[in-house]
Protein backbone atom coordinates (compact mmCIF):
# COMPACT_ATOMS: atom_id res chain seq x y z
CA UNK A 1 0.00 0.00 0.00
CA UNK A 2 1.16 3.47 -0.89
CA UNK A 3 -0.18 6.70 0.53
CA UNK A 4 -1.43 9.27 -1.97
CA UNK A 5 -2.66 12.68 -0.79
CA UNK A 6 -5.22 14.42 -2.99
CA UNK A 7 -5.75 18.07 -2.14
CA UNK A 8 -8.81 19.86 -3.49
CA UNK A 9 -8.58 23.45 -4.77
CA UNK A 10 -10.27 24.60 -1.54
CA UNK A 11 -7.60 22.85 0.57
CA UNK A 12 -9.58 19.77 1.65
CA UNK A 13 -7.23 16.81 1.80
CA UNK A 14 -8.08 13.17 1.02
CA UNK A 15 -5.47 10.71 2.23
CA UNK A 16 -5.78 7.41 0.41
CA UNK A 17 -4.02 4.08 0.92
CA UNK A 18 -3.66 2.90 -2.65
CA UNK A 19 -2.86 -0.56 -3.95
CA UNK A 20 0.39 -0.67 -5.89
CA UNK A 21 0.03 -1.20 -9.62
CA UNK A 22 -3.21 0.72 -10.11
CA UNK A 23 -3.26 4.30 -11.35
CA UNK A 24 -3.67 7.44 -9.28
CA UNK A 25 -6.99 7.97 -11.10
CA UNK A 26 -8.29 4.52 -10.11
CA UNK A 27 -7.15 5.00 -6.53
CA UNK A 28 -9.04 8.31 -6.35
CA UNK A 29 -12.20 6.86 -7.88
CA UNK A 30 -12.11 3.81 -5.57
CA UNK A 31 -11.92 6.08 -2.56
CA UNK A 32 -14.49 8.58 -3.89
CA UNK A 33 -12.14 11.54 -4.05
CA UNK A 34 -14.39 14.25 -5.51
CA UNK A 35 -13.29 15.97 -8.71
CA UNK A 36 -11.55 13.01 -10.35
CA UNK A 37 -14.09 11.47 -12.70
CA UNK A 38 -12.09 9.24 -15.02
CA UNK A 39 -14.79 9.03 -17.68
CA UNK A 40 -12.62 7.13 -20.18
CA UNK A 41 -11.57 4.52 -17.66
CA UNK A 42 -7.89 5.40 -17.83
CA UNK A 43 -7.18 5.60 -21.57
CA UNK A 44 -5.80 9.17 -21.42
CA UNK A 45 -8.76 10.04 -23.61
CA UNK A 46 -11.04 12.36 -21.63
CA UNK A 47 -8.86 14.55 -19.39
CA UNK A 48 -11.31 14.33 -16.47
CA UNK A 49 -8.48 13.16 -14.20
CA UNK A 50 -6.27 16.24 -14.55
CA UNK A 51 -4.06 16.87 -11.48
CA UNK A 52 -1.09 19.06 -10.54
CA UNK A 53 1.80 17.07 -9.17
CA UNK A 54 3.38 18.80 -6.18
CA UNK A 55 6.69 20.21 -7.53
CA UNK A 56 8.67 18.17 -4.97
CA UNK A 57 7.28 14.98 -6.48
CA UNK A 58 7.54 15.85 -10.15
CA UNK A 59 10.98 14.30 -10.59
CA UNK A 60 9.62 10.97 -9.36
CA UNK A 61 6.34 10.93 -11.34
CA UNK A 62 7.94 12.50 -14.39
CA UNK A 63 6.22 15.08 -16.58
CA UNK A 64 3.29 14.39 -18.93
CA UNK A 65 4.21 11.87 -21.62
CA UNK A 66 4.42 12.79 -25.30
CA UNK A 67 1.50 11.58 -27.34
CA UNK A 68 -2.08 11.34 -26.14
CA UNK A 69 -1.45 12.50 -22.56
CA UNK A 70 0.12 15.76 -23.73
CA UNK A 71 -2.48 16.26 -26.47
CA UNK A 72 -5.38 15.77 -24.11
CA UNK A 73 -3.86 18.10 -21.53
CA UNK A 74 -3.61 20.79 -24.17
CA UNK A 75 -7.40 20.94 -24.23
CA UNK A 76 -7.87 20.97 -20.46
CA UNK A 77 -8.37 24.19 -18.51
CA UNK A 78 -5.62 25.96 -16.58
CA UNK A 79 -2.82 23.60 -17.57
CA UNK A 80 0.58 24.10 -15.93
CA UNK A 81 4.09 22.63 -16.04
CA UNK A 82 3.12 20.21 -13.30
CA UNK A 83 -0.10 19.00 -14.96
CA UNK A 84 -0.58 15.26 -15.44
CA UNK A 85 -3.42 12.89 -16.17
CA UNK A 86 -3.75 10.88 -12.97
CA UNK A 87 -4.65 7.76 -14.95
CA UNK A 88 -1.15 7.83 -16.43
CA UNK A 89 0.60 7.82 -13.03
CA UNK A 90 1.14 4.31 -11.72
CA UNK A 91 1.10 3.95 -7.95
CA UNK A 92 4.36 2.32 -6.80
CA UNK A 93 6.32 2.17 -3.57
CA UNK A 94 8.63 4.99 -4.62
CA UNK A 95 5.64 7.36 -4.66
CA UNK A 96 4.72 6.82 -0.99
CA UNK A 97 3.34 10.16 0.27
CA UNK A 98 2.72 11.57 -3.23
CA UNK A 99 0.86 14.90 -3.21
CA UNK A 100 -1.56 15.62 -6.05
CA UNK A 101 -3.51 18.87 -6.20
CA UNK A 102 -6.83 19.09 -8.01
CA UNK A 103 -7.78 21.90 -10.37
CA UNK A 104 -10.68 24.19 -9.64
CA UNK A 105 -12.84 22.20 -11.96
CA UNK A 106 -12.20 19.28 -14.18
CA UNK A 107 -13.89 20.08 -17.48
Amino acid sequence: MTVVRYIEANGTEHRVEAENGISAMEAAVKHSVPGIDGDCGGAAACATCHVYVDPEWLARTGPAADGLEKSMLEFAEDVRETSRLACQIEVTGKLDGLVLRLPDRQH
Binding site: D39, A44, A45, C46, T48, S71, F75, R105, H107
Partner: protein, 422 residues
Protein backbone atom coordinates in the same frame (compact mmCIF):
# COMPACT_ATOMS: atom_id res chain seq x y z
CA UNK B 1 -48.39 -8.08 -27.70
CA UNK B 2 -47.62 -6.31 -30.96
CA UNK B 3 -44.38 -4.94 -29.59
CA UNK B 4 -43.36 -8.44 -28.59
CA UNK B 5 -44.35 -9.88 -31.95
CA UNK B 6 -42.40 -7.29 -33.91
CA UNK B 7 -39.33 -7.75 -31.69
CA UNK B 8 -39.34 -11.45 -32.57
CA UNK B 9 -39.66 -10.70 -36.26
CA UNK B 10 -36.71 -8.34 -36.29
CA UNK B 11 -34.46 -10.63 -34.29
CA UNK B 12 -35.07 -13.23 -36.99
CA UNK B 13 -34.45 -10.68 -39.70
CA UNK B 14 -31.08 -9.71 -38.22
CA UNK B 15 -30.12 -13.32 -37.50
CA UNK B 16 -31.19 -14.82 -40.80
CA UNK B 17 -28.88 -12.91 -43.13
CA UNK B 18 -25.43 -14.31 -43.95
CA UNK B 19 -22.85 -12.17 -42.11
CA UNK B 20 -21.31 -10.79 -45.28
CA UNK B 21 -24.68 -9.42 -46.38
CA UNK B 22 -25.20 -7.36 -43.24
CA UNK B 23 -25.14 -3.63 -43.94
CA UNK B 24 -25.84 -1.60 -40.81
CA UNK B 25 -25.55 1.70 -42.69
CA UNK B 26 -29.09 1.34 -44.12
CA UNK B 27 -30.88 4.37 -42.70
CA UNK B 28 -34.24 2.60 -42.67
CA UNK B 29 -32.97 0.22 -39.98
CA UNK B 30 -32.68 3.21 -37.66
CA UNK B 31 -36.04 4.59 -38.73
CA UNK B 32 -37.65 1.22 -37.89
CA UNK B 33 -35.65 1.05 -34.63
CA UNK B 34 -34.29 -2.42 -35.40
CA UNK B 35 -30.59 -1.53 -35.74
CA UNK B 36 -29.97 -2.88 -32.23
CA UNK B 37 -30.63 -6.48 -33.32
CA UNK B 38 -28.07 -6.16 -36.10
CA UNK B 39 -25.44 -4.69 -33.83
CA UNK B 40 -26.06 -7.35 -31.17
CA UNK B 41 -25.34 -9.99 -33.80
CA UNK B 42 -22.17 -8.25 -35.00
CA UNK B 43 -20.86 -7.79 -31.46
CA UNK B 44 -21.36 -11.50 -30.89
CA UNK B 45 -20.21 -12.98 -34.18
CA UNK B 46 -18.03 -10.45 -35.99
CA UNK B 47 -17.28 -7.37 -33.91
CA UNK B 48 -15.01 -5.76 -36.50
CA UNK B 49 -17.10 -6.32 -39.60
CA UNK B 50 -16.40 -5.58 -43.25
CA UNK B 51 -19.24 -4.59 -45.52
CA UNK B 52 -18.04 -4.78 -49.11
CA UNK B 53 -20.93 -3.04 -50.75
CA UNK B 54 -23.21 -0.27 -49.52
CA UNK B 55 -24.72 3.02 -50.66
CA UNK B 56 -21.58 4.64 -49.27
CA UNK B 57 -19.10 2.14 -50.67
CA UNK B 58 -17.17 -0.46 -48.67
CA UNK B 59 -16.61 0.21 -44.97
CA UNK B 60 -15.61 -1.40 -41.68
CA UNK B 61 -17.97 -1.43 -38.70
CA UNK B 62 -16.40 -1.27 -35.24
CA UNK B 63 -19.05 -2.38 -32.76
CA UNK B 64 -17.47 -3.10 -29.36
CA UNK B 65 -16.71 -0.50 -26.69
CA UNK B 66 -12.99 -1.23 -26.36
CA UNK B 67 -12.35 -1.42 -30.11
CA UNK B 68 -14.14 1.90 -30.57
CA UNK B 69 -11.97 3.41 -27.85
CA UNK B 70 -8.89 2.04 -29.63
CA UNK B 71 -9.86 3.73 -32.91
CA UNK B 72 -10.98 7.00 -31.32
CA UNK B 73 -7.68 7.36 -29.42
CA UNK B 74 -5.46 6.49 -32.37
CA UNK B 75 -5.77 9.64 -34.45
CA UNK B 76 -2.36 9.05 -36.03
CA UNK B 77 -3.76 6.07 -37.95
CA UNK B 78 -7.47 6.89 -38.06
CA UNK B 79 -7.85 10.30 -39.66
CA UNK B 80 -10.76 12.74 -39.45
CA UNK B 81 -9.45 14.93 -42.27
CA UNK B 82 -12.07 16.38 -44.63
CA UNK B 83 -9.87 15.55 -47.61
CA UNK B 84 -10.29 11.82 -46.99
CA UNK B 85 -14.05 12.14 -46.54
CA UNK B 86 -14.35 13.54 -43.04
CA UNK B 87 -16.28 12.18 -40.10
CA UNK B 88 -19.51 10.67 -41.38
CA UNK B 89 -19.97 7.54 -43.46
CA UNK B 90 -21.35 9.55 -46.38
CA UNK B 91 -18.51 11.44 -48.14
CA UNK B 92 -21.05 13.73 -49.81
CA UNK B 93 -21.98 15.48 -46.58
CA UNK B 94 -18.39 16.65 -46.31
CA UNK B 95 -18.10 17.77 -49.92
CA UNK B 96 -21.56 19.32 -50.23
CA UNK B 97 -21.81 18.01 -53.82
CA UNK B 98 -19.45 18.67 -56.70
CA UNK B 99 -19.28 22.41 -56.44
CA UNK B 100 -19.81 22.57 -52.70
CA UNK B 101 -18.98 25.38 -50.35
CA UNK B 102 -15.85 24.38 -48.41
CA UNK B 103 -16.36 25.18 -44.76
CA UNK B 104 -13.32 24.01 -42.85
CA UNK B 105 -13.86 23.21 -39.20
CA UNK B 106 -11.82 21.35 -36.69
CA UNK B 107 -13.98 18.28 -36.17
CA UNK B 108 -12.85 17.25 -39.67
CA UNK B 109 -9.16 18.07 -39.24
CA UNK B 110 -6.15 16.22 -37.88
CA UNK B 111 -3.41 17.73 -35.72
CA UNK B 112 -1.79 20.20 -35.81
CA UNK B 113 -4.56 22.31 -37.37
CA UNK B 114 -7.25 20.59 -35.29
CA UNK B 115 -5.42 21.36 -32.07
CA UNK B 116 -4.88 25.05 -32.84
CA UNK B 117 -8.51 25.69 -33.70
CA UNK B 118 -9.95 23.56 -30.92
CA UNK B 119 -7.84 25.43 -28.41
CA UNK B 120 -9.13 28.71 -29.76
CA UNK B 121 -12.80 27.75 -29.74
CA UNK B 122 -13.10 25.53 -26.67
CA UNK B 123 -12.69 28.19 -23.93
CA UNK B 124 -15.90 29.64 -25.30
CA UNK B 125 -17.92 26.66 -24.10
CA UNK B 126 -15.85 26.06 -20.96
CA UNK B 127 -17.83 25.87 -17.70
CA UNK B 128 -16.63 29.26 -16.44
CA UNK B 129 -18.32 30.92 -19.39
CA UNK B 130 -21.34 28.69 -19.29
CA UNK B 131 -22.05 29.70 -15.74
CA UNK B 132 -22.66 33.24 -17.02
CA UNK B 133 -25.30 31.94 -19.41
CA UNK B 134 -27.08 29.67 -16.97
CA UNK B 135 -29.49 32.34 -15.73
CA UNK B 136 -30.70 33.31 -19.20
CA UNK B 137 -31.02 29.68 -20.23
CA UNK B 138 -33.09 28.89 -17.15
CA UNK B 139 -35.40 31.88 -17.72
CA UNK B 140 -36.07 30.75 -21.25
CA UNK B 141 -36.68 27.15 -20.20
CA UNK B 142 -39.21 28.36 -17.62
CA UNK B 143 -41.03 30.49 -20.14
CA UNK B 144 -41.38 27.64 -22.63
CA UNK B 145 -42.56 25.18 -19.98
CA UNK B 146 -45.02 27.67 -18.50
CA UNK B 147 -46.70 28.12 -21.86
CA UNK B 148 -47.31 24.42 -22.51
CA UNK B 149 -50.92 23.22 -22.34
CA UNK B 150 -51.72 20.87 -19.46
CA UNK B 151 -54.09 17.97 -20.12
CA UNK B 152 -54.01 18.33 -23.90
CA UNK B 153 -52.09 16.45 -26.58
CA UNK B 154 -49.13 18.23 -28.19
CA UNK B 155 -45.83 17.32 -29.88
CA UNK B 156 -42.91 17.40 -27.42
CA UNK B 157 -40.34 17.47 -30.24
CA UNK B 158 -41.56 20.64 -31.90
CA UNK B 159 -42.88 22.50 -28.87
CA UNK B 160 -40.12 21.72 -26.41
CA UNK B 161 -37.04 20.02 -27.83
CA UNK B 162 -36.65 22.05 -31.03
CA UNK B 163 -37.88 25.25 -29.45
CA UNK B 164 -35.55 25.04 -26.46
CA UNK B 165 -32.50 23.93 -28.41
CA UNK B 166 -33.02 26.80 -30.81
CA UNK B 167 -33.50 29.29 -28.01
CA UNK B 168 -30.34 28.07 -26.33
CA UNK B 169 -28.33 28.47 -29.52
CA UNK B 170 -29.77 31.97 -29.90
CA UNK B 171 -28.69 32.66 -26.31
CA UNK B 172 -25.16 31.40 -26.89
CA UNK B 173 -24.68 33.48 -30.03
CA UNK B 174 -26.82 36.38 -28.80
CA UNK B 175 -28.63 35.86 -32.10
CA UNK B 176 -31.66 38.06 -32.91
CA UNK B 177 -34.29 36.20 -30.96
CA UNK B 178 -37.25 36.65 -33.32
CA UNK B 179 -35.24 35.10 -36.14
CA UNK B 180 -33.99 32.14 -34.15
CA UNK B 181 -35.57 29.44 -36.33
CA UNK B 182 -33.05 30.44 -39.01
CA UNK B 183 -30.48 28.66 -36.83
CA UNK B 184 -32.49 25.45 -36.90
CA UNK B 185 -32.83 25.75 -40.66
CA UNK B 186 -29.11 26.36 -41.26
CA UNK B 187 -28.21 23.45 -39.04
CA UNK B 188 -30.58 21.16 -40.93
CA UNK B 189 -29.27 22.39 -44.28
CA UNK B 190 -25.63 21.85 -43.30
CA UNK B 191 -26.12 18.11 -42.81
CA UNK B 192 -28.76 17.61 -45.53
CA UNK B 193 -28.56 15.80 -48.83
CA UNK B 194 -30.84 16.56 -51.80
CA UNK B 195 -33.99 14.44 -51.75
CA UNK B 196 -34.03 13.89 -47.99
CA UNK B 197 -36.86 16.39 -47.57
CA UNK B 198 -34.80 19.43 -46.55
CA UNK B 199 -33.08 20.58 -49.73
CA UNK B 200 -33.74 19.81 -53.40
CA UNK B 201 -30.23 20.36 -54.77
CA UNK B 202 -26.65 21.01 -53.71
CA UNK B 203 -27.01 24.43 -55.33
CA UNK B 204 -29.86 25.29 -52.98
CA UNK B 205 -27.71 24.21 -50.03
CA UNK B 206 -24.88 26.44 -51.16
CA UNK B 207 -27.24 29.40 -51.58
CA UNK B 208 -28.70 29.06 -48.12
CA UNK B 209 -25.30 28.65 -46.50
CA UNK B 210 -24.07 31.79 -48.24
CA UNK B 211 -27.03 33.63 -46.76
CA UNK B 212 -26.03 32.24 -43.37
CA UNK B 213 -22.44 33.39 -43.95
CA UNK B 214 -23.60 36.92 -44.73
CA UNK B 215 -25.79 37.01 -41.65
CA UNK B 216 -22.99 35.92 -39.31
CA UNK B 217 -20.54 38.27 -41.00
CA UNK B 218 -22.85 41.15 -40.08
CA UNK B 219 -23.07 40.00 -36.48
CA UNK B 220 -19.27 39.81 -36.34
CA UNK B 221 -18.91 43.30 -37.82
CA UNK B 222 -21.37 44.74 -35.31
CA UNK B 223 -19.52 43.22 -32.38
CA UNK B 224 -15.87 43.38 -33.34
CA UNK B 225 -15.61 47.11 -32.76
CA UNK B 226 -17.39 47.31 -29.41
CA UNK B 227 -14.95 48.47 -26.76
CA UNK B 228 -16.84 46.50 -24.08
CA UNK B 229 -16.98 43.04 -25.66
CA UNK B 230 -20.14 41.10 -24.83
CA UNK B 231 -19.93 37.53 -23.55
CA UNK B 232 -21.61 35.73 -26.47
CA UNK B 233 -19.72 33.29 -28.66
CA UNK B 234 -19.44 35.61 -31.66
CA UNK B 235 -18.03 38.44 -29.58
CA UNK B 236 -15.54 36.01 -28.09
CA UNK B 237 -14.46 34.77 -31.51
CA UNK B 238 -14.16 38.35 -32.74
CA UNK B 239 -12.05 39.46 -29.79
CA UNK B 240 -9.94 36.45 -28.85
CA UNK B 241 -6.33 36.77 -30.08
CA UNK B 242 -6.45 33.16 -31.26
CA UNK B 243 -9.51 33.59 -33.47
CA UNK B 244 -9.91 37.24 -34.41
CA UNK B 245 -7.85 36.85 -37.59
CA UNK B 246 -9.69 33.78 -38.81
CA UNK B 247 -10.54 33.67 -42.51
CA UNK B 248 -14.25 34.26 -43.17
CA UNK B 249 -14.88 30.67 -44.33
CA UNK B 250 -13.14 29.35 -41.23
CA UNK B 251 -15.23 31.58 -39.03
CA UNK B 252 -18.39 30.32 -40.71
CA UNK B 253 -17.16 26.72 -40.59
CA UNK B 254 -16.64 26.94 -36.85
CA UNK B 255 -19.91 28.77 -36.22
CA UNK B 256 -21.74 26.06 -38.13
CA UNK B 257 -19.86 23.37 -36.23
CA UNK B 258 -21.11 24.83 -32.96
CA UNK B 259 -24.66 25.14 -34.31
CA UNK B 260 -24.80 21.64 -35.75
CA UNK B 261 -22.91 20.12 -32.82
CA UNK B 262 -25.38 21.54 -30.34
CA UNK B 263 -28.57 21.15 -32.30
CA UNK B 264 -29.86 17.64 -33.13
CA UNK B 265 -27.82 16.11 -30.35
CA UNK B 266 -29.31 18.15 -27.53
CA UNK B 267 -32.75 18.13 -29.16
CA UNK B 268 -32.94 14.36 -29.30
CA UNK B 269 -31.61 13.99 -25.76
CA UNK B 270 -34.47 16.23 -24.60
CA UNK B 271 -36.96 13.94 -26.30
CA UNK B 272 -35.11 10.74 -25.42
CA UNK B 273 -35.29 11.47 -21.70
CA UNK B 274 -39.08 11.81 -21.75
CA UNK B 275 -39.44 8.62 -23.78
CA UNK B 276 -37.01 6.65 -21.58
CA UNK B 277 -38.83 7.61 -18.38
CA UNK B 278 -42.15 6.71 -19.97
CA UNK B 279 -40.82 3.24 -20.78
CA UNK B 280 -39.35 2.86 -17.27
CA UNK B 281 -41.97 3.96 -14.74
CA UNK B 282 -39.90 2.62 -11.83
CA UNK B 283 -37.05 4.97 -12.78
CA UNK B 284 -39.54 7.83 -13.08
CA UNK B 285 -40.73 7.11 -9.54
CA UNK B 286 -37.11 7.02 -8.30
CA UNK B 287 -36.50 10.42 -9.84
CA UNK B 288 -39.66 11.95 -8.37
CA UNK B 289 -38.67 10.69 -4.92
CA UNK B 290 -35.14 11.97 -5.22
CA UNK B 291 -34.64 14.86 -7.67
CA UNK B 292 -30.91 14.88 -6.83
CA UNK B 293 -30.68 11.92 -9.20
CA UNK B 294 -30.95 14.38 -12.11
CA UNK B 295 -27.15 14.60 -11.95
CA UNK B 296 -26.64 10.95 -12.82
CA UNK B 297 -29.76 10.68 -14.97
CA UNK B 298 -28.55 13.29 -17.46
CA UNK B 299 -25.46 11.32 -18.59
CA UNK B 300 -27.57 8.14 -18.59
CA UNK B 301 -30.06 9.78 -20.96
CA UNK B 302 -27.18 10.70 -23.25
CA UNK B 303 -25.82 7.13 -23.19
CA UNK B 304 -29.22 5.54 -23.67
CA UNK B 305 -30.13 7.87 -26.53
CA UNK B 306 -26.68 7.99 -28.20
CA UNK B 307 -27.74 11.02 -30.28
CA UNK B 308 -24.95 10.49 -32.82
CA UNK B 309 -24.99 6.86 -33.91
CA UNK B 310 -21.51 6.92 -35.41
CA UNK B 311 -18.35 8.81 -36.25
CA UNK B 312 -16.24 7.81 -39.21
CA UNK B 313 -12.48 7.77 -39.77
CA UNK B 314 -10.19 6.90 -42.69
CA UNK B 315 -7.16 4.67 -42.10
CA UNK B 316 -3.95 6.34 -43.27
CA UNK B 317 -1.85 3.21 -42.57
CA UNK B 318 -2.52 -0.52 -42.25
CA UNK B 319 -3.71 -1.49 -38.78
CA UNK B 320 -4.80 -4.58 -36.84
CA UNK B 321 -8.10 -4.38 -35.02
CA UNK B 322 -9.93 -7.25 -33.35
CA UNK B 323 -7.96 -9.77 -35.39
CA UNK B 324 -8.75 -8.07 -38.72
CA UNK B 325 -6.36 -6.16 -40.94
CA UNK B 326 -7.60 -2.73 -41.90
CA UNK B 327 -5.84 -1.36 -44.98
CA UNK B 328 -4.60 2.12 -45.63
CA UNK B 329 -7.43 4.08 -47.27
CA UNK B 330 -10.25 2.01 -45.74
CA UNK B 331 -13.31 3.71 -44.28
CA UNK B 332 -13.80 2.84 -40.61
CA UNK B 333 -17.09 3.51 -38.80
CA UNK B 334 -17.20 3.61 -34.99
CA UNK B 335 -20.77 2.71 -34.04
CA UNK B 336 -21.18 4.47 -30.70
CA UNK B 337 -24.78 3.27 -30.63
CA UNK B 338 -23.46 -0.30 -30.50
CA UNK B 339 -20.57 0.29 -28.09
CA UNK B 340 -23.03 1.86 -25.65
CA UNK B 341 -24.97 -1.44 -25.63
CA UNK B 342 -21.86 -3.63 -25.25
CA UNK B 343 -22.52 -5.98 -22.33
CA UNK B 344 -18.80 -6.64 -21.88
CA UNK B 345 -18.19 -2.96 -21.02
CA UNK B 346 -21.44 -1.71 -19.50
CA UNK B 347 -23.56 -3.45 -16.90
CA UNK B 348 -27.14 -4.20 -18.09
CA UNK B 349 -26.59 -1.96 -21.13
CA UNK B 350 -30.09 -2.24 -22.57
CA UNK B 351 -31.65 -0.90 -19.40
CA UNK B 352 -32.21 2.74 -18.52
CA UNK B 353 -30.91 3.15 -14.94
CA UNK B 354 -30.80 6.70 -13.56
CA UNK B 355 -28.49 6.00 -10.62
CA UNK B 356 -25.58 4.19 -12.23
CA UNK B 357 -22.29 4.34 -10.32
CA UNK B 358 -20.23 5.61 -13.28
CA UNK B 359 -22.82 7.16 -15.57
CA UNK B 360 -20.28 9.05 -17.67
CA UNK B 361 -18.54 5.93 -18.89
CA UNK B 362 -20.26 5.93 -22.26
CA UNK B 363 -19.24 6.65 -25.83
CA UNK B 364 -21.86 9.24 -26.84
CA UNK B 365 -19.35 12.12 -26.72
CA UNK B 366 -16.48 10.13 -28.24
CA UNK B 367 -13.04 9.97 -26.63
CA UNK B 368 -9.59 11.26 -27.51
CA UNK B 369 -8.66 14.55 -29.12
CA UNK B 370 -12.05 15.01 -30.78
CA UNK B 371 -14.09 14.34 -27.63
CA UNK B 372 -17.09 16.63 -27.69
CA UNK B 373 -16.21 20.14 -26.51
CA UNK B 374 -19.88 20.83 -25.80
CA UNK B 375 -20.36 17.91 -23.42
CA UNK B 376 -20.74 19.96 -20.25
CA UNK B 377 -22.91 22.52 -22.02
CA UNK B 378 -25.22 19.75 -23.22
CA UNK B 379 -25.41 18.30 -19.73
CA UNK B 380 -26.12 21.72 -18.24
CA UNK B 381 -29.01 22.30 -20.63
CA UNK B 382 -30.56 18.93 -19.82
CA UNK B 383 -30.06 19.41 -16.10
CA UNK B 384 -31.87 22.76 -16.14
CA UNK B 385 -34.68 21.32 -18.24
CA UNK B 386 -35.28 18.42 -15.83
CA UNK B 387 -35.01 20.62 -12.74
CA UNK B 388 -37.75 22.83 -14.13
CA UNK B 389 -39.91 19.94 -15.38
CA UNK B 390 -39.96 18.41 -11.89
CA UNK B 391 -41.08 21.77 -10.46
CA UNK B 392 -44.13 21.84 -12.73
CA UNK B 393 -45.48 18.50 -13.91
CA UNK B 394 -46.20 15.28 -12.06
CA UNK B 395 -46.14 13.23 -15.23
CA UNK B 396 -45.39 13.47 -18.93
CA UNK B 397 -47.63 10.89 -20.52
CA UNK B 398 -46.49 9.56 -23.90
CA UNK B 399 -49.61 8.98 -25.98
CA UNK B 400 -48.20 7.07 -28.96
CA UNK B 401 -44.88 5.66 -30.10
CA UNK B 402 -42.66 8.34 -31.67
CA UNK B 403 -41.67 8.36 -35.34
CA UNK B 404 -37.93 8.17 -35.80
CA UNK B 405 -35.61 10.03 -38.12
CA UNK B 406 -34.38 8.16 -41.21
CA UNK B 407 -30.64 8.54 -40.65
CA UNK B 408 -27.66 6.40 -39.75
CA UNK B 409 -25.97 9.41 -38.14
CA UNK B 410 -28.48 11.47 -36.17
CA UNK B 411 -30.35 9.08 -33.93
CA UNK B 412 -33.53 10.90 -33.17
CA UNK B 413 -37.25 11.48 -33.21
CA UNK B 414 -39.51 13.23 -35.70
CA UNK B 415 -42.24 13.63 -33.09
CA UNK B 416 -43.44 12.48 -29.67
CA UNK B 417 -47.10 13.05 -28.82
CA UNK B 418 -47.52 13.71 -25.10
CA UNK B 419 -49.97 14.99 -22.49
CA UNK B 420 -48.86 16.79 -19.34
CA UNK B 421 -50.28 16.16 -15.89
CA UNK B 422 -50.17 19.08 -13.47
Amino acid sequence: MTALASATTTATEADSLPLDRIDVSRAELFERNVEGDYFRRLRREDPVHYCADSTYGPYWSVTKYNDIMAVDTNHQVFSSEAGYGGIVIDDNIQKGGDDGLQLPNFIAMDPPRHDEQRKAVSPIVAPGNLAKLEGTIRERVCRVLDNLPVGEEFDWVDNVSIELTTQMLATLFDFPFAERRKLTRWSDVTTAEPGGGIIDSWGQRKGELLECAGYFQNLWNERVNLTEPKSDLISMLAHSPATRNMKPEEYLGNVLLLIVGGNDTTRNSMTGGVYALHQNPAEDAKLRNNPALIDSMVPEIIRWQTPLAHMRRTAVADAELGGKTIRKGDKVVMWYVSGNRDETAIDRPDEFIIDRQRPRQHLSFGFGIHRCVGNRLAEMQLRILWEEILQRFTRIEVLREPERVRSNFVRGYANLPVRLHA
